[in-house]
């Protein structure tokens, strides 16, 4: 459960700036209507894709945003493909549809990318983070930026279990800086306790250090 206290004030918000483009980053324009950022998380049953979506939304809330996270439920079973969606905005979100054109994707299992339709609708100016030991070039099919990061291995090393979700989230937030790491830590504290929390906090700190900070802060020019 989230605490309800906004732990960080963000201004200007890089996530929103990313959608508005470089001119907004320059800060010369009048403040525009805030624009929603949409995320899609893919994984397999047991990898914590739905938990990842809830954590991302909870972290966004901790950082002072409005948020929405929900799964695309099927007949749930271990190993079956799972999808979950997140929206982050500055104003209330009334839209309830599934995210068909995500700005960003997180893929927890690289074999899911064997399906060429998995990345359908992905914003060419956005980016995709893949949990894999393979190089990103293996998954790069368009101009959309892709980074691969072996999150399962890191999770096994730190928490002793092959659950990559929190490591991926930390790396993703380090890349995008949409929500500060502190907010993710706060979201984890709302969901876990004891050794599970401690190990996950250690894991997210390590994961965040493995990628280039702010690399996806700005909009790509596809």
């Amino acid at each position: 459960m989230a605490t309800g206290e906004a732990v960080v004030q963000i201004a200007p918000n890089p996530a929103i700036a990313l959608k508005r483009g470089a001119e907004a980053l320059a800060g010369a324009e009048e403040p525009e209507e805030p624009i929603m950022i949409e995320y899609r998380i893919h994984g397999r049953g047991g990898q914590g894709s739905v938990a990842a979506a809830y954590l991302l939304a909870a972290a966004a809330f901790e950082a002072g945003f409005t948020c929405q996270a929900f799964p695309a439920f099927g007949a749930e079973r271990r190993g079956a493909p799972v999808m979950a969606f997140v929206r982050i905005d500055e104003k209330p979100i009334t839209l309830r549809s599934q995210v068909r054109s995500p700005d960003f994707m997180i893929v927890q299992d690289d074999t899911l990318l064997l399906d060429p339709n998995l990345t359908a609708g992905l914003n060419p100016e956005g980016a995709m983070l893949v949990n894999s030991r393979k190089p990103a070039s293996e998954f790069k099919k368009s101009k959309t930026r892709v980074i691969a990061f072996p999150a399962t291995e890191l999770a096994v090393e730190v928490i002793g279990r092959p659950i990559p979700n929190t490591a991926l989230l930390a790396a993703f937030l380090a890349l995008t800086e949409h929500v500060p790491q502190k907010a993710l830590a706060a979201a984890l504290k709302g969901r876990f306790a004891g050794p599970v929390l401690e190990k996950n906090l250690e894991l997210i700190a390590k994961a965040a250090d493995t990628v280039e900070k702010g690399a996806w802060k700005e909009k790509a020019h596809a």
Partner: protein
């Protein structure tokens, strides 16, 4: 306090704030998380209630019936086939005018088996004599749940709070969970004037012969009609304490002067509002009528809301096979007494959980520009998937 919560978790918290004496429920997707969270609140010592684990929805409804009749604040929740199994008891509850509250986590009814959201379950008990309210967000579901306990108590009628399964129950969003002190101020302790009393024994729901049955039904109908202003009054009283209302009987969103309107219940209203923001330059604005009270049906309020509207799309999340949409048919009936009422286009959408995108707003408004547009259709059905004889 504002928190990021899953809808079901927030509902369990809202129930807890209303301090039920008895909770009885049988788990069914997508209602399960509500009951799980309630049971956790009880197990952790945070909710002091008699939590009765039952073996079926029939028993769940029977337990809350008996509990409320004995003077206890009682709550249950279900969905889909669970509602159908409860239906006999639902008629008993309302027929005996027992005040209690149920959440319906709306889901399709099988066969074929489908666990996803539409509103076929609540429509199947349309005539069971319960107050039926619909929510477009988890905030409204939380607020309406708290209101429902007061409404049940003041009307001596059972109240079903509908929230779309998965779309709301499994969505995490920012929800302002009211403080206990404020809920205590708003919701008085449970009282039931006709509660069972061993010192003054009565029978409830006994045989009523033809000499009295029509009068009993008239009285039930009259009580439901009288609940219309109560629903508004209780929502207004809520706004006074908590600073926000849930939409009374209905509200008009979007362009209040538009000659085209879209009417719907539940979460799809929010998607249509988002669709209007995105596509109004392309297809124009619409009056978006958010219908909150389905039973009792706010006929007059609806006619007032639709004055000057020429074309009305009624979105249905359930159908009556062989007739059309349930809500659309009812709206048409109510508008028949209106001079220059709108032409009604009744389109069923999102049956069995089919995703409804914001672009549906545009698709609907474009479709009714065609003079030959059908007056009823399962709008998003792809007939090419069917053999020719089924189209």
């Amino acid at each position: 306090m504002r928190e990021a919560l899953e809808g079901s978790q927030a509902i369990a918290r809202a129930i807890s704030l209303c301090k039920p004496d008895v909770v009885a429920a049988y788990p069914i997707t997508p209602q399960t998380h509500i009951v799980e969270n309630l049971s956790k609140l009880v197990a952790d010592g945070n909710l002091h209630t008699e939590f009765v684990s039952v073996e079926s929805e029939f028993s769940a409804a029977s337990v809350v019936l008996g509990a409320a009749a004995a003077g206890a604040r009682a709550y249950t929740a279900s969905a889909s086939q669970g509602i159908l199994l409860m239906s006999e008891v639902m008629y008993n509850i309302s027929g005996m005018r027992i005040p209690l509250v149920m959440t319906i986590a709306n889901r399709a009814v099988g066969a074929p088996l489908n666990i996803w959201n539409d509103q076929s379950d609540t429509m199947a008990v349309r005539d069971a004599g319960w107050i039926q309210l619909h929510c477009i967000s988890n905030q409204e579901a939380v607020d309406t749940t708290i209101q429902a306990f007061r409404l049940a108590q003041e009307t001596e009628l059972p109240v079903a709070v509908n929230m779309d399964g998965f779309v709301l129950t499994h969505t995490m969003e920012v929800i302002d969970v009211p403080a206990q002190a404020e809920v205590d101020k708003y919701l008085p302790p449970f009282e039931f004037s006709r509660k069972l009393d061993p010192a003054n024994p009565v029978s409830m729901g006994t045989l009523v012969d033809p000499n009295w049955f029509s009068e009993v039904r008239h009285s039930h109908h009259a009580a439901m009609v009288k609940a219309l202003p109560k629903i508004e009054e209780i929502d207004k009283a809520f706004a006074k304490v908590f600073g926000r209302a849930s939409g009374g009987l209905l509200t008009v969103e979007g362009d209040k002067k538009a000659k085209v309107a879209i009417l719907a219940m539940g979460s799809v209203v929010g998607t249509m509002m988002a669709g209007q923001d995105e596509f109004k330059d392309e297809v124009g604005s619409a009056r978006i009528v958010k219908l909150r009270a389905f039973r009792p049906f706010p006929a007059k309020a609806l006619r007032d809301a639709l004055k000057g509207v020429e074309k009305l799309v009624v979105i249905d999340r359930a159908i009556s096979p062989g007739l059309g949409g349930v809500l659309g048919t009812e709206v048409s009936a109510v508008l028949s007494t209106m001079d220059n009422g709108p032409k009604v286009y009744n389109y069923a959408l999102g049956l069995g959980g089919r995703d409804i995108q914001a672009s549906m707003y545009k698709d609907l408004l474009k479709a009714i520009e065609n003079p030959k547009a059908p007056r009823f259709a399962i709008f998003d059905a792809d007939l090419k998937k069917l053999p020719p004889e089924d189209r």
